[in-house]
Symmetry: C2
Subunit: 304 residues, 2 copies
């Protein structure tokens, strides 16, 4: 079976699963939480395998997993208090009062993770490699846990579902468009050391298909809901290209890590795509950035 | 001049400077801000020299400096809005409204720092060493910027000055007590790979002198202000030993980094002490931890 076919079949299974995960608001979005935990778990394991330099230092996988998932879990608990689809059960309220939705709990978690890694380094590891070991442990949790936590931040907005469609669509359509655009029209290499096969035609096709997609989603949103879309068409011409480029940055960053580790695919969990990181790399970077984009818009006085 | 004498003279200059920095509330605590920026600047430069593995990766010093200082600067701007000694000038208010005191701006800064480092890695560096370079850049900013930012968090409490005296005193008295205790009574090595010369007698002397100190500060606080001290004497017997141990963890963590880099003193900025990191290592870890200790106390319903 060809790579392209495998890729399409994987997408046909994953895309409906992904859409269900954030559309179905029953179960307190628990399916979304589980999907996120799976991505974080597999992603951290993959990242840690990249970062393993043997005697010169390697991340503490269990610590990275624990804090990566904790950051996501705390964000989930904050999210379910803000979402309006499911009332919080009385029994849970007395526990959730310790995790107020607006409290900044991520910074303390990152800091405690840093100290915890050092303690384990001092107790269990030889003198060499402390800096690499501790640094990569912290970065593993940030790269997977902190990024994925922003999914909840996007979803909790008034037009959360619209934003998820726009943001994740921009990422996956840019990637898919670039892949097929590169295969069919690719002539001029973009000249990137990190990904020498990528062509300008691929990237441009990716950006254009992403723009067609975001215009399509916005048009459908207006038709279906009858509400004015959160992004005007003019704003889409600003937002989509910028986030298409950020998406490519996310993709290249992951390639840089793989090159550093001298491997091609981050794993072989997803047929035709490679590992979870190969699939999620761009979304991990785009999600927080698009949330900050909305925050800046709000601070400047626009409605989001 | 002997090391001990140098150490004492350095302390005689630095301690009054340090006390002035957080006691003098005029100038919007700008002297405290400057002191913090100096520590962050020198600390990041020292940390980056530890982490430099040449062709195998090295941190982006300028990026780490920029974000490390930005994290501290944003925290300072949030702090001056909360402190009550100086009214905010009208002209500054329209700018400060974009930096509300309760907004979590540190997480976005850490994330943008992560992405920024990757972009510069992709553009300027060879394929090797991406993970080490990016990870250590982020950790440099966290290790210096994020930690120092907690000084403001402690100081903005109702009994902020008391807490600073207790927390920083615990750190420096533990260290000084351990140094002199080890010199005079040291017999039994604590058996730490990382610091083979440290003795149990040293650590115990450090902890006891720290406890005597915190009791003294609490007693003086009660006498001078006539107010009931924020920490009861019973709580000091819990707080001081715990933070004395955390202080040692901070000290050993920095030693682990130096050992990793195969150097003895982090620099020679402070006569008798070495570099800024040799001096500040323990405080960097203890400051955030003691702030979280107060937060947990508050969440549990105690007055802080």
């Amino acid at each position: 079976m060809g790579e392209t076919l495998k890729r399409l079949i994987s997408a046909m299974i994953l895309v409906p699963l992904f859409i269900f995960s954030f559309h179905y608001s029953g179960w307190y979005y628990f399916q979304l939480f589980l999907l996120g935990v799976s991505v974080i778990y597999l992603g951290i394991v993959e990242f840690c395998s990249f970062s393993d330099k043997g005697d010169e230092g390697k991340p503490f996988v269990k610590i990275a997993l624990f804090y990566g998932i904790m950051i996501f879990f705390v964000s989930y608990l904050q999210f379910i208090q803000v979402q309006t689809h499911n009332p919080i059960p009385e029994g849970l309220k007395s526990f959730l009062k310790y995790i107020p939705p607006d409290a900044n709990l991520i910074t303390p978690l990152i800091f405690i993770l840093f100290v915890h890694s050092f303690v384990i380094q001092l107790i269990t590891r030889p003198l060499e490699g402390a800096i690499l070991s501790v640094s990569t442990t912290v970065i593993a949790s940030i790269y997977l846990g902190l990024t994925n936590a922003h999914f909840f931040k996007l979803l909790q907005q008034t037009n959360g579902i619209y934003y998820i469609w726009i943001v994740s669509g921009t990422v996956f359509i840019t990637d898919g468009g670039a892949y097929f655009g590169g295969r069919f029209f690719g002539r001029h290499p973009a000249g990137l050391k990190i990904s020498p096969k990528k062509t300008w035609e691929g990237y441009i096709t990716g950006m254009i298909t992403a723009l067609i997609y975001t215009i399509g989603v916005t048009f459908s949103f207006e038709k279906i809901t009858g509400v004015m879309p959160p992004f005007s068409y003019a704003e889409l011409f600003l937002f989509t290209p910028i986030f298409s480029v950020i998406s490519v940055i996310g993709d290249l960053s992951e390639s840089a890590m793989k090159r550093d580790a001298k491997i091609k695919d981050s794993a072989s969990v997803v047929p035709g795509h490679g590992g979870v990181l190969d699939l999620a790399d761009a979304l991990l970077i785009v999600m927080p950035c698009s949330y900050y984009y909305l925050c800046i818009k709000e601070v400047l006085g626009f409605t989001i």
